[in-house]
Subunit: 366 residues, 2 copies
């Protein structure tokens, strides 16, 4: 088995996990290959608090043989060396005298990293830095390295990039299947949806997850609301304030409120400038509250400022087969500045998808 | 053989033609099916002035049998009934006593149409109106029904729909492969390229076809130049004025020039309003000059006004993986008006294509 093949095997194993079951943990897959080049054990991290991929792989291998001293462990992410919710995988590797460990991507957390421990214990270690393995855990790496949530932008526009006409009419630019896709694949797979108080009011948004049968599921919502306008009496019946059993509304404001808030509404304070929220001022709070992966469904101001602040990580862009052909329509993106073409933001295409007549383009930001 | 299957067979035959060899004629494919449901003859229109599809199909069938009286002719477009460059196909069908003719789309030209003649001669006729057969000859139908050239818009923009920054810097928004695609698949397959004098000056455009080896081929160019600015002395060395052996520059102007023009430059006069050229004022002239299919490579004003005048037929849109994020960048589309979302222009998606990191979306206008 070639190295690249073995790593791809691990990555495909890792992908069997449902991210909602493991977050904030990363996706990890591991295999044990014996001297005869056979896979004798495999596994993936399945559940937060449950065994790591290496544990499954080693346990399965031990059912085949008691001697792993001539075996190689391939793993998509550096094994852990610390006592977290489970004992350190590095110890397990050392204990079973595994000959060699091939690692497809390093763990950015120095407390967790194990390469040095493994080498010190006489294990042969090879680190590959596989781009697919890194992309698989883009959310995890962003959380760890940038100490902030991973942000996914969702845009839906006409071909000419409009999300509403001059009078802000905006309903149903994308088709029903695209909107269902947002529920099934985007809203369902994040810790919260981020938007602005303006969008919540204007769209009368509830931001729930509605499955194809029409069943409604709650979501956590983070709303940028500098002056806490949503707490005004006139807005108390907005759809966003539906009765919540398990979800929360987080208001990001410039100044903490003096009044007592209902249990499911929390405020955190951030720093604002003339372009809006400085995301760096709330990143740590959001991570601490468990918001590791956030979907943004906002308007031009929020979308543009996130890109400007270099914190947009992924983009899902639904393009409807229509053209407004009016420069006064509301664009999906754009700050009012004078930015040269040399300062444009670069993205990488992940996938294209045709949804009925809409096109979905999926990018990550470079 | 089912009817739909037979029609698709004809359409696929028709597509074997190279449009440059047949234009202004349509794509046509035909088959003869005998009583035993076998295809005993097939053909497609291959060359302007050459035999029609039905002739090939019937000739081939006659090599199998002398009796076609129990056979069915399937044809993707209504057979002709007039003496054009070849004798009428309807006569051939009647002469060989073909039992039944199944037609996938009608010919819009009443002089050419043959259904009535066929029925009068006792041939059983069935007309299907197949949407694929109609789409195949969209250019032909537009020429015939709307008495104007078929217009293809080419746009290349960032994700946020910009073709240049605030200072009009625009070079290389799309990648090298996308630009080569324009040469190989768009410029190569039209009768002329349409643009404005502004674009010709600003982009220092030559608008030739450059193949992958770097060989240059001339193209006809139609330039909207109301006041014939391009004839000013200061512009005489623009790249567009390269020495032309076989191609022409057509200037569309408000007023014919009084001076003698070089042989390869022609002027036609059109009517202009404050938004620019009224295309209806030059449609017939362009058709008469042999410009049946035109590729537009222009700026916001030309693109938008063609859509506004409802004469854009197809769109090829190259999307580069970048975002300018500046509302002051130059957009690819948009008039300065106040158009409601209910007035948006609808398109249909034909194809999506990934070209390296660019995405090409191909639509036709509804």
């Amino acid at each position: 088995m070639k190295k690249k093949e073995a790593i791809d095997y691990c990555i495909n194993l890792a992908k069997n996990a449902i991210e909602n079951d493991i977050r904030p943990n990363p996706f990890v897959g591991a295999i044990i290959v014996n001297q005869a080049d056979e896979v004798i054990g495999e596994g993936f991290h399945q559940k937060l608090g449950g065994p790591h991929a290496e544990v499954y792989a080693i346990e399965q291998a031990l059912q085949n043989t008691t001697d792993l001293s001539q075996s190689t462990l391939y793993v998509s992410l550096e094994p852990c060396s610390h006592f977290g919710k489970t004992p350190p995988c590095a110890d397990l590797i050392i204990r079973h005298k595994i000959k060699k460990v091939v690692i497809a991507s390093l763990d950015p957390n120095p407390k967790v990293a194990s390469v040095e421990n493994l080498i010190a214990a006489g294990v042969e270690v090879e680190v590959i830095n596989d781009s697919t393995a890194s992309l698989l855990n883009a959310r995890f790496f962003t959380n760890q390295l940038k100490k902030r949530p991973y942000y996914i932008l969702k845009l839906a526009s006409t071909i000419d990039g409009k999300i509403a006409d001059y009078a802000k009419n905006s309903q149903w630019i994308s088709n029903a299947d695209s909107r269902q896709y947002v529920h099934d694949h985007l809203r369902s797979n994040v810790d919260a949806i981020l938007t602005s108080y303006k969008t919540v009011i204007q769209d009368q948004a509830s931001l729930t997850i509605r499955n194809i049968k029409g069943d409604i599921q709650e979501t956590n919502v983070i709303i940028i609301d500098k002056n806490l306008e949503l707490l005004e009496k006139q807005y108390e019946n907005l759809p966003i304030f539906y009765p919540r059993s398990a979800s929360k509304i987080i208001l990001i404001t410039a100044k903490a409120p003096s009044i007592q808030l209902p249990e499911n509404i929390k405020c955190i304070t951030g720093i604002f400038d003339e372009q809006g929220l400085l995301f760096s001022s709330v990143s740590e709070s959001l991570l601490e509250m468990g918001y590791y992966k956030i979907l943004t469904e906002g308007g031009i101001q929020l979308n543009s400022s996130m890109i400007h602040q270099n914190i947009a990580d992924e983009l899902y862009w639904f393009i409807a087969p229509s053209i407004l052909n009016d420069v006064n329509g509301i664009p999906m993106l754009g700050l009012d500045e004078f930015r040269g073409l040399d300062k444009k933001v670069q993205l990488s295409l992940i996938e294209t998808k045709v949804i009925d007549q809409d096109v979905l383009l999926h990018y990550h930001f470079e």
